[in-house]
Symmetry: C2
Subunit: 231 residues, 2 copies
């Protein structure tokens, strides 16, 4: 849901700047595609709390754009910070194109030589103790562009973990990288390795594959859910 | 999403009347469970349109409560009308209990001998030409109470249909009935029979089963999506 809402926030900005999805396709035959998120969660919002999502197209170079997101509560406490890397993709060839000056200008992003490097998710090693689950891609997993919605990857990743673990832990940090698009009708395998060598800071390493091709990878650092007292 | 929002609307009313989920469990050990919806869709909301969901606990008898929902656009046109039947279930035994007077009183529902009967979905017959798809229940399909969220059944039902059909049709009428709860870790089979004998009014009959036990059934009547002209 967090990912859905941040996508919504960035698309709202695109619209306000006259650079929405439909316009980019119609005029340039291109579209924005996210390649990675680095998500740092201080606190997840509670039921009925009102939150504010802010976003900024911070900087870009020849091929990559760096976009930041912040989720704040009503007292302006930062709940979540997200850094992300985006590329422009040719809608027909599905290949990356250089960032068009006319398209990026309205964001007043800084043109830089190097954009920040996000932490690269770890990969599962052959000797790791892996748990895997298989999924049929559902119609409701698919975006208007015929590919799996990005928010489904974390869903499959989480689902590979035991329910008891999920009921007692929440993510503190998520580094996720999208590699190859998955289409309708495909089956995907969600694999996970749990590293609980540091008990206070359990880490999980995830891979989503479709036909043995890597679609997404992630490293998640967890914290135990604290039951709040009545103070 | 429509089902998620109507559940939210009814839970908001429950809260406003001091009869929310948590209160019912803590004080009576019971909870509301929907057994069927009859959904009539005049028009689905467009992107960015503002809609209003209204609900009323209309009537009840010894075991069943009849609740209605309306979705209106900003000009007060009715987009969707939903009729639904609810029961109170003991949270421990998962058995239906008679409707408690104290629990129903705040709704000012009419106490009737017979509540309206909703259309019963058709069932798939042995000689029908059936298409089936199998799903792993995901953690994100599960409600706080450990059972599959009701909104997932229509999702599985729709997904059993070809993508091309879904891209060109939208539901005009959905009669859905929930029979048995599905839990985490289960696998479900979504089966469908397409009746296109009346080409202007294609009808599909759906069954969701888990371990050969019927979980939900539905009849959906479809209309072709009309591409709107610029008039």
């Amino acid at each position: 849901m967090l990912i859905n809402i941040l996508i919504l926030a960035s698309e709202h900005q695109n619209e306000n700047l006259g650079m929405d999805q439909t316009f980019l396709i119609d005029h340039y035959g291109i579209g924005w595609v996210v390649t990675s998120y680095s998500i740092h969660i201080t606190e997840l919002p509670q039921k009925d709390s009102v939150v504010k999502m802010t976003t900024r197209g911070t900087s870009y170079n020849r091929y990559f754009a760096f976009r930041e997101f912040w989720l704040h509560d009503q007292d302006d406490n930062e709940l979540v910070k997200v850094e992300s890397i985006w590329v422009l993709m040719n809608e027909e060839t599905r290949k990356i194109t250089p960032i068009n000056k006319d398209v990026i200008a309205p964001y007043q992003s800084e043109n830089v030589r190097r954009i920040p490097r996000l932490p690269r998710p770890e990969r599962i090693e052959p000797h790791d103790d892996v748990t895997s689950k298989e999924y049929q891609v559902r119609w409701s997993d698919i975006d208007f562009n015929g590919h799996v919605n990005n928010s489904r990857y974390p869903e499959w990743m989480l689902d590979s973990l035991p329910m008891e673990f999920l009921n007692n832990h929440e993510p503190a940090n998520i580094d996720i990288r999208f590699e190859n698009e998955v289409k309708y009708g495909n089956r995907v395998t969600s694999s996970v390795v749990v590293d609980s060598s540091d008990n206070a800071k359990i880490k999980t390493v995830h891979e989503i594959k479709s036909n043995d091709v890597l679609s997404a990878s992630a490293t998640i650092v967890w914290k135990e859910i604290q039951v709040k007292g009545n103070d």
